[in-house]
Every structure is written in C-alpha cells, then in structure tokens.
C-alpha cells in the first residue's frame, strides 16, 4: 500500500454539495465509512468517505497524527489521506452513524440556538405540545432552513438548500414526471437529482415512515432522501407547478363539477328557457297587457308574502334564545393545546399594504399554538406595492407569503384555491386584510366542530364592524349585519337550511373543502355559493358565537360597488344551481330548496322589485297614475298595501331587534329608517343586474382604509 504524505494532504469538504449541473452530491459514501470501526473513527477523527477500485479516500482532522497513519495502514489498499474541518467531519460521522442527538442540543451545539431560548421553547412545548423546531420558528428564534439543517444533523441525512442559486439539472424533468403533482404535494417531497436509476429527493420530513414506504413501493432504483426546509419544498412545488397550480385554482371545480361552476353564467338549457319565457312574456304583454301585468304583479306580491312569512318563521328561534354554538370559557379552558390540529388562515391581499401592520397584529393576537398556525398571505404578482410592503416586513415564522401569478379571474376565491394547494391545516379559515378576529375564534371554531359532529363542514363566525358609528351608512350597515349574522343565519341553522356563508371568518374542514372542489373562482359571492354546495354535499354549517370586526364601508360609491358584487353573486349563484331545478330539489330536499330560493333568489328579488313599487306608490299619490289602478285590482291592491305597510315595517323592526340583541343600543334608533337603506341597496342591485350581463365574473374591489377610527384600538 501507499500513503500520501500528510503534509501534502489536500482539504476536502464533507458537506453535501451541488455540481455545476445542479446535481446534489454527498461526498461521504456510508459503505466506505464502514471500513473503519465507528468508535475508533470517532476517537481519531477520521472518516473513510469514498473509494475507487484501487484507492480509499480518508478524511482526517489531523492526518499527520501517528495513530491516524497507523489506522489507515490497516485498510489494506492504497489510502489517500485528506484534511477535513472538524465540524464537517463530525457532521459526516453523525450522518453515517445515525447519531441523532436531541434537536435542541444539536441546535445549541451548532451555535444556532442559545440555551435560554431553547429552555423557553421547551417550556412552551410542554404547555401546548407541538414540534420544537416549529415552535422555534414561530418564536422567531430559528428560520425554517435552520431547523431543516438541525434536523439533517440530527438524522444524519444530508441537508440541501433547494434555492442556493445554482441552476438545476435539465434531466430533473423526468423525475418530476414520474409522479403526479398531488403525490409531491401531499408528501411534501420534491426531486432534486436523478442519475440513472439513482434518485435523490428532498423532503420536509424525510423521517416520516409512510414516506419511505411509499417511495420504496413506487421507485425501483436507489432513492436517497435529503433534508430540506418546509418553505423550500413549497417554493419548489410552486416553481415547478406554477402554471398547473394556477390552472387548478381556476378550473378545479369546473373540471370536477362543471355544473356547479359559474364559469358559464347560463347553461344552454337556461338560455333556451329564458328565451322562450321572454318571448312568451312579450307576446302576452302585447296581446293581454292588462291581464299579464296583473299576473306578474300577483306573482311578485305572493313572492313578497312568502318571503315575509319565511323570514318571520326563521327569526323566531334566534330572537327567543341563543341558537348559535357557544364555546363557553370552561370549554375553552378544557381544550388541550397539544390536541389542537394545524390551522390554515388565508388572508388574500390586494392593494392593501396600508393595513398590513394591523393585520399582523391581529394575527399575532390569535390564541392558537403558533407552531400549528399556517397563515398564508395571498398576494398578487401584479400588486408590487403590497408585495414590497410584505417584503419589508419581518414576518413571524407561521406566516407564509404566497404570490399568485397574474391571471384572470382576479378574484378572492381563485387566490384561496391557490393557497389551498399548499395549506397544511386540518381546518382553513379566510380573513380579509382589515379583519380583526376574536382572538379566541380558532379555538371556538374547534370547540364548535367537536361539539357538532362529522356532518358539520363549516363553522361561520359572526361579522360586525369596528367603525359602526362613523356615519349613517356604517350604522345601517352594522344593523344589517347584526340582523344577518345574529338572526338570519342562526335561524337558517336551526331550520336546517343552506346557509350562504359570510365573506370571511368561515372555518372549513380542509378535507371537506377539497372534496367539494373548494371555491368557485368565477363566482363573485363564492362564500354564498360554497354554503349551498356544502349543503348539497350533505354537510351542515353552524354559526359560532365569536365576532370578527371588519371595516364597514363608509363611502357610498365604494359601498355600491361592494353591494353590487354581492347582489350579482347571489344572482350568479342562483342561476348556477338552478341549471337543474329538479336535481337541486333532490339534492337539497324540500326544506333546503325552499331556503335556497328564499335566501339566494329572494334577496336580489326584493332589492330589484322594491323601487318599482315605491315609484308606483309615489306616482299614485302624486298624480293618481292610471297604470297603478290597472295592475292593482282591489284584491291585489290590499295584498300590495299589506306588503308595503306591514312587510317594510316588519323588516325594519327586525333590524332594530337585531341591533338590540347584539347590544348595539346606539344603533337601534337608526334601524327605524332602514327602508332608506334598502333604497340604496336597490341602486346597487340595479348596477348588479347590468353587470351580470356585461361582466358576470368581474370582482368589484372594495377599498379599505376609509374608517375614521384607528383599527389598532380594536386589536386587543
């Protein structure tokens, strides 16, 4: 044998590295390392790390030591000694030996963590469970990359930084193509190298037993799994599947349940139906003008009466008692933090850089173990201002930034669908940028889910406003929300009818959400639509007694914009689900069908019809307009008069009741004048009617940040 002179021993790095072609190489071959007794190798700080047919390469911290030289002579072939860094050699030894120390000890030993910080994190872990690495990330002590490196050291696996700046290998495409996208996504693993039958993968959690079993079953060649960071995996997935993700977020529902998608506003059958109906109506109006108008008027009046009776019956229970699910302080106290599942929070942001600080504060206030909190800020690629603002902000570890490629439709549901592809939570919830959720809301939702049973797919929290006293519009808006979330939705819950979800704060089971095709990106009230689809799929929604405070729209034009989108969305939702009325009847059942018609069709119906009747009434009193007498024969006149005088009062009164019930005493008197507010709604409804024809999926963006009160004061 020959032995290279120690004085000329070259330095060698034992850390895994990438080649210029992007291949990832671990310089240590475990089989070669086994040539030396592991105990001896550690004590002498030597490591045989590679070999050819003739030469064994041995790394040593002190190759000149006599003991080292004596040892290598025993190997029986030509040995080339190399000099190695003590830490790298030790890490390599660990990799070979599988010498997994405790995470914290290793992190401290690696100099990434101070003992005091470790102690605090361990205390937190003892309190609420969870993984120490995630806890350290969420405490801002370690980055996810740091954690991955420590885990790599702990497990003896090579660590790989997927975004170290080197170009990736061309041939990797074939590796990606070996499995479908959802394989990589669901197992949080990505291919990083492939050479012949040897496949190198990087995983967020390579030690996951099921992962190894899956890989063994699927791949026939040699598979090595390296450790990498969770965000690296997500980013690599997004980088590779960017277009596919975008397509999924836009077309998943369309692909899975095309009949439930608002991509096409009207089906062919509906177009034919409406054309025939329109023609018949025109014909009748020409031939039998008076009678036709009376029939139409009678139908409309009956519709009003039916809606009035429906709402009265719906409101009775919530006005009598608290029907929403209440998570009592005792129940919350009994929640074992260690039993809490991961929770994903979506916050779609567009042109909302200004509210970022408050949003982050509100999120930080959420009383939920941060290691299981998976907040995703969903940004749009063509919104540089918000992206820049987020980039400038030091985000806590539990907040991810997801940037969506710029593409139509530019809707909130599309952003959420995109985010859902990387959601880690058992549950997901959406908050708007200006939302201030009850800090206990996630826990309350968990309690509600656990109380309710498996048939509950969604828990809807209540919405209200922090700037309710800003002006008359915000006061009316607040009473309307009090009625909607305090009486109407709980009433629908008790009546076991479909619940059109509110725009935010709807907590959903992730598996259920995925099962039903997530949000419809073409529906501008995707929340209402989702509520109906949940019901169709056999899931219930319950209301939880927890508030999210939002910013009430205080500007009339802005309000009309927002409201017109809602009304348009309701019309959209109705048209979509009424493509097959008989099937819908079967899917929803009589009760659900009735509730659907009353809520989804009834809401825009009243907004659109109200001004017509108000104008007719006014004209009758001003000029005794003959048409009024013509379309209102006496029997119909009394019906109409009843609707006008009693129906309007009843709904205004219900607004008062709702404000009182919520404790918004200062708003009760303003609710008396709610009919004026309905006039404004009719303006928005008219706009919606025009838009449903011209731009059915256009998302009218609501401008936030117009409140005259500091949001900060409400985050506490």
């Amino acid at each position: 044998m020959t032995l290279a002179a120690p004085s000329r021993a070259p330095y060698v790095t034992l850390r895994p590295y990438r080649t210029s072609q992007g291949r990832l190489i671990d310089p240590v071959v475990p089989e070669v390392a086994a040539l030396v007794d592991r105990g001896v190798a550690r004590s002498l700080q030597v490591l045989p790390f590679d070999a050819t047919e003739d030469v064994v390469f041995v790394a040593a911290v002190a190759p000149q030591r006599q003991e080292v030289r004596s040892l290598v002579k025993t190997l029986g072939s030509e040995v080339r000694l190399c000099r190695a860094d003590a830490r790298e050699l030790s890490e390599a030894q660990d990799r070979v030996d599988g010498n997994f120390g405790r995470f914290g000890q290793i992190a401290v030993a690696m100099g990434r963590l101070r003992p005091l910080a470790l102690r605090a994190a361990l205390a937190q872990q003892a309190r609420q469970g969870g993984r120490i690495g995630q806890i350290l990330i969420d405490r801002g002590t370690l980055s996810s990359l740091d954690v991955a490196q420590v885990i790599a050291r702990q497990s003896g696996r090579p660590f790989v930084d997927l975004f170290s700046g080197r170009s990736r290998r061309e041939g990797l495409e074939t590796a990606w193509d070996m499995m479908p996208e959802n394989f990589w996504r669901s197992r949080a693993v990505v291919p990083v190298d492939r050479a012949g039958p040897r496949l190198v993968l990087a995983a967020e959690d390579p030690g996951e037993p099921s992962l190894a079993a899956d890989l063994e079953r699927i791949f026939t060649g040699e598979v090595r799994i390296y450790q990498t960071g969770q965000r690296d995996v997500q980013a690599a997935l997004r980088q590779h599947y960017g277009q596919e993700y975008l397509d999924l977020s836009r077309t998943d529902l369309l692909r899975v349940r095309p009949e439930d998608s608002a991509h096409q506003l009207l089906s062919r059958g509906q177009k034919t139906f409406f054309a025939v109906l329109g023609g018949l109506l025109a014909l009748c109006l020409m031939r039998f003008t008076g009678q036709t108008m009376i029939v139409l008027n009678a139908l409309s009046q009956l519709g009003y009466i039916a809606l009035t009776i429906f709402k009265l019956s719906i409101f009775r229970a919530p006005a009598s008692r608290r029907v929403e699910t209440v998570a009592t302080p005792e129940e919350l106290a009994q929640l074992d933090d260690s039993s809490l599942p991961p929770y994903t929070v979506f916050v779609p942001l567009r042109s909302e850089a200004s509210v970022l600080p408050v949003l982050l504060r509100a999120l930080r206030m959420l009383d939920y173990p941060k290691d299981r909190l998976d907040v995703k800020l969903l940004l749009e690629e063509d919104d540089p201002e918000t992206i820049a603002a987020v980039s400038r902000t030091r985000l806590p570890g539990y907040i991810d930034v997801v940037v969506l490629p710029a593409a139509d439709p530019r809707t909130k549901p599309k952003a959420c669908n995109y985010g859902l592809l990387s959601a880690r939570g058992t549950y997901v919830v959406i908050y708007d940028a200006e939302d201030i959720p009850d800090p206990l809301q996630l826990k309350k939702a968990i309690v509600a889910f656990r109380k309710a049973g498996p048939e509950v797919g969604c828990v809807q929290a209540k919405l209200s406003f922090f700037n309710k006293e800003q002006n008359l519009l915000t006061r009316w808006f607040t009473t309307e929300y009090a009625m909607w979330f305090g009486l109407l939705l709980p009433g629908l819950q008790v009546s076991r009818m479909p619940i059109p979800l509110g725009g935010t704060s709807n907590h959903l089971r992730t598996d259920v959400l995925q099962e039903i095709g997530a949000w419809d990106p073409y529906n501008v009230t995707e929340d209402a639509d989702l509520g109906v689809r949940l019901y169709k799929a056999g899931y219930r929604t319950v209301i939880v007694d927890s508030d999210t405070l939002e910013e009430a729209n205080s500007d009339f034009v802005n309000w009309v914009r927002q409201r017109s989108r809602w009304v348009k969305g309701y019309i959209q939702t109705w048209l979509v689900h009424m493509r097959h009325p008989v099937r819908l009847w079967r899917e929803l059942g009589p009760r659900g069908f009735l509730g659907f018609q009353a809520m989804v069709a009834g809401t825009p119906f009243t907004f659109l019809m109200n001004p017509l009747y108000w104008v007719m009434t006014t004209m009758w009193f001003l000029v005794a307009w003959g048409l009024v007498q013509q379309v209102f024969p006496s029997w119909l006149y009394y019906m109409g008069m009843g609707n006008l005088l009693l129906g309007n009062f009843m709904f205004a009164y219900l607004n008062m009741v709702a404000a009182y019930r919520r404790g918004d005493d200062e708003l009760v008197k303003y609710a008396v004048f709610a009919p004026l507010y309905w006039g404004l709604m009719s303006v928005a409804a008219a706009k919606a009617l025009i838009q449903i024809v011209s731009r059915p999926s256009h998302w009218e963006k609501t401008v936030h940040g117009l409140a005259d009160v500091e949001m900060e004061t409400h985050v506490a």
Binding site: R322, G486, D547, F649, Y660, R661, G663, V668
Partner: protein
C-alpha cells in the same frame, strides 16, 4: 342582575338565552271554561233576549259590507275606526250561509269577545304564575276574574273592552317576563300585543305610553344604562307608534282628516257636541279637573279591592321598595287616565265600561302584593285574598246594578238581562227589511250608521247604496236617475244626523221637493223612505 350584562371589549353580548316560558297547565282549560261561559251568556243574551249592543253589531256589519255590499272591498271594513275587531269578524261572516245569526244578530262579534274573555283569563293566570303564586290561587283568581259581571257581560256581547284587556294582559306578561329574564322575545311579544291592542281600541296608545314609562323607570332602578333603556323602549313601542301612524294616515287617506276618529262625524266628540250623551253629570265635569278626578277615582268602586290594593302599592312605591312590577301594573290605569283628560274637556260619555280596567288592575295588584307578603300563613292569606276578589266581583255587580253613576252606560240593559227580560223588538227595522225584500228592483241609498241592522238582514244587500261605497257621496249629491229612494232614520234630538240629512237638511220636513215620502216604518224607532223624483239634482 344579568339582564344587561355586557362583556368588556369589542364583543358585547346580545340577547340573553332563556328557556321558553310556558303558561301553567291550568291556563288553557280555564281559558276554555271562560270562553264557554262568555259564549253561553252571549248566545243567551243575543238570541234568547234579542239584545245586541249597537257598537258591537255595527262592527259585524262593517265586516259584512266587505264581502256583500255593491262593491265588495276591504276598505268597507272602515279603517277610520280601529279595524281589527271587524277584520276578525270578517273571518266568520262567510259562515252566515250556514247560520245567519252570525251576522243578522251580530253573533260573530260575540264569538270573538268570548274568545277574548278566555284569552284574558289565560294571560292573567300566566302573570300570576310569573308572580310565583300557587295553582289553587291561580285557578280561583282566574275563575273569579272570568265571573266578574262586567268582564263577563262585555265578553259576552261582542264588545271590544275584553279584547283590549286581553292585549293589555299580554303586554304586561311580556314586559314582566322581560324584566324577569331579559329575554328579547318577551319584549317583542309585549310590543306585538300593544300593536294588536291598538288595532282594537285606541286606548292602547296611552296604555303603551304608561307601560313604556314604567319600564324605563323599572330598568333605571335596576341600574340599566340609559342607552339600553332607550333601545328597549324603541323595541317595545315601535310597533305601536307605527300602527298609530298608519291609522292616522288611513284616516287622512280615507277621510282627508288624520284625526277623523277623534273629531269626525260619529266620534265621541261629535256625539258630545250633539248632546247625545245627555247625562247631566258629564256637563258638570267639563272644565272641572277636580270634579273629573273625583269621578274617575270614584269609578274604582266598580271593583272596590283595587282601592286598598292601589293604596298599599303606592305606599310601597313611595317607600324604599322600588319594584318596577308595581309600576307596570299601574299602567293599566292609563285608560281611566285618558278618560280623565277627555271628560275634563267634555269629549267622553264616561260610561262604566271605560273604567272596567280597574278590575284587572285590582286582580294584579292584590296578587302581586300577596306574592311578596312575608308570612308563614300564606295559604290563609291567599284564601282570604280569593274571598276579597269574590267580594270585589259581587261589588261590581252591586255597583252597576244599583248605582246610576257607577252603572252609567249599560245599567238599564244589565238590569233587563239580569231579570231575563227580552229586549223590545225593533219592528220598524223588520218592516223595512220586508219592504225591501218585496221590492227587489228598488235601489235605495242609506247611511249604514243607522241602517246596518237592515243592511245585514235584507235578502239582497246589493240593492242598498251605503256610505262605504265609493260612489256614495256622488249619488247622494246627484241622486236623479241613479237611485230610487233614500232611506232615513228618524233621528231623535241629541243624535248625530245621518248622512242624507246632513247633505240635504230639511228633507224630512218637505224642504226638498224632489224627495217624496213613500213609506214610513214605525215601531221601536222610525225609518222613512223617500222616493227621488225626476226633478232631483
């Protein structure tokens, strides 16, 4: 107390959640007994003694016009008067085909007043249960209330007093339960009862105001913030205010006078102006508040137990005990208080039925005081109390039958009924009906205020042009060729003239040459039939 608790921070707690409050089990059976009692008495009085009270009968007639007049329309119910009784009676009017007395004798009104009497008992028992009084006492009190002569009489003859009392008790029950539990639905229930009450009699308005004030004070005593009190009052009173406004509007729309109900043709004011009340004492009260007060206070003798009960309750309120429930119960005296205001201005007949609200007031006050009494001999106390209530009932009967002042109003009718004397038959009316049935080709214009017993009895009511018809005024002004005859009651002095006489003064004395008397129907009143000649306008 938990009524107005709010969490600090931006998530205030709203309505309280309470288990539904159920009426005690004996309430419904006793209500049925009371209804049956009222109905039996009503049918006896109405059918056996042929007694009908004109106010009650005319309400049934109003309902009749809606379906059977020349131009059937809902407005014929007469929205200028509180329309709910007639609207309720409208539901029974179509059944006249099976049993004509429902309309021809006004039994439809009897049915509803009997039901109201039963409902009053039901609600009274529910309130007594709210006071946590025992079942035996509740049953005794319920029966004694139902058996009170005035309650029974007005529950039996189709009048609206028992109906209003029922809504008052409903209101009180709701507000008392709200005070007890903080339950929003109870407050809403009270508000609905108030609004329904206004649909029956406008005295519900002052009652509502009194209840509102009492509730405000009661809540204030409990330390409830003013904002909360204000919103509670809005919830309680908004329906009443709205219905009142609606009613004023309907008065304006129909009669071009929003206060027509108060100062219109057949209002108390009009009757008063014509001297219809013809009761010397009333003249002495006008402009004399102290005398008026004495009169109103004296009417408490209609149910004497209210006097000691009221004095004790007042003493307790003036003392240390700030019990809002006492205040609320006193709100029942809003109607007598309104009478004070009207009598002092000479705008009321001051009859006994306007003061019968002292009866439920007495029952409630005594019961609450007994409920709060701290004694080891509770059973004896309640038994004694039941005896007092029974004596109160006897006192009512004695008062209205023996005292011309306390019985001012329907005393003579009551005496006749007690003695089982049939009411004198209105022969003239029957003659008119027979005449019209024999002359079905005639078209006759008449004022329904006086002719309603005829209108509901003729075979073809559509041969009559009545004041609820849209073209009534026009035909009255220009009758030539549009109507064959005018049917006029012969009005006694002090009565408000009918519409024809008001439009054509002197017609009965021959001052209108185009109107020729063709028939005069006499007996228990007089009706004249005038033929419209070709020279008529």
């Amino acid at each position: 107390m938990h009524l107005m608790q709010r969490e600090s921070g931006p998530w205030p707690v709203g309505a309280q959640s309470v288990a539904p409050v159920k009426a005690p089990p004996e309430a419904a059976p006793l209500a049925l007994v009371a209804t049956a009692l009222n109905l039996a008495a009503g049918l006896y009085i109405n059918l056996a003694l042929s007694y009908t009270k004109s106010d009650a009968f005319s309400r049934v007639a109003n309902a009749f016009y809606v379906l059977y007049s020349r131009t059937p329309h809902l407005a014929a119910v007469g929205f200028v008067w509180n329309p709910l009784p007639s609207l309720l009676e409208l539901l029974l009017v179509p059944f006249k085909a099976f049993w004509p007395p429902l309309v021809t004798s006004g039994v439809a009104g009897v049915v509803w007043s009997a039901v109201s009497g039963g409902l009053s008992v039901y609600l009274l028992i529910a309130i007594l249960a709210e006071f946590r009084l025992g079942r035996a006492y509740r049953i005794a009190a319920g029966l004694l209330f139902a058996a009170n002569p005035l309650i029974l009489f007005y529950g039996a003859i189709g009048m609206t007093e028992d109906m209003l009392i029922a809504t008052m008790l409903g209101t009180l029950l709701g507000v008392l339960r709200y005070l007890g539990t903080g339950s929003l639905i109870r407050l809403i229930g009270a508000a609905v009862w108030l609004a329904v009450g206004f649909g029956i009699r406008y005295e519900a308005a002052p009652f509502g105001v009194f209840v509102g004030l009492s509730l405000a004070v009661a809540l204030h005593w409990r330390g409830v913030p003013w904002k909360r009190i204000e919103s509670a009052l809005l919830i309680l009173l908004a329906p009443l205010v709205y219905v009142s406004g609606l009613w004023l509007y309907l008065n304006w729309m129909i009669m071009k006078n929003p206060l027509f109900f108060m100062d219109g043709t057949y209002s108390n004011a009009a009757f008063s102006a014509y001297g219809s009340y013809g009761y010397p004492l009333l003249g002495q009260l006008k402009g004399h508040p102290l005398d008026t007060l004495a009169y109103v206070a004296g009417m408490t003798l209609l149910f004497w137990p209210v006097i000691p009960a009221g004095l004790i309750a007042l003493a307790r309120l003036c003392g240390a005990q700030r019990d809002g429930r006492l205040l609320l119960i006193f709100a029942v005296s809003a109607v007598p208080a309104l009478q004070f205001a009207l009598l002092e201005r000479g705008l009321s007949s001051g009859v006994e039925r306007y003061f019968m609200y002292y009866i439920p007031l007495g029952f409630l006050l005594l019961s609450l005081l007994a409920a709060e009494a701290r004694t080891r001999h509770r059973g004896i106390l309640l038994a004694a109390l039941a005896l007092v209530l029974a004596l109160g009932d006897i006192g009512t009967g004695y008062a209205v039958l023996t005292s011309p002042i306390l019985g001012h109003g329907d005393r003579s009718d009551l005496i006749g009924i007690v003695q089982g004397k049939p009411t004198p038959q209105y022969v003239a009316r029957d003659k008119v009906v027979a005449y019209l049935d024999e002359h079905p080709h005639l078209t006759v214009l008449t004022d329904s205020a006086y002719a309603y017993p005829i209108i509901v009895r003729v075979r073809n009511p559509r041969q009559l042009i009545i004041d609820s018809d849209a073209d009534f005024e026009s035909i009255l002004e220009n009758p030539r060729g549009r109507v064959d005859d005018f049917l006029l009651p012969v009005i006694s002095a002090g009565d408000v003239p009918d519409a024809v006489t008001r439009a054509w003064p002197g017609i009965t004395s021959g001052k209108r040459p185009w109107a020729q008397l063709v028939e005069s129907f006499r007996g228990g009143g007089t009706y004249d039939l005038f033929r419209i000649l070709p020279n008529a306008p």
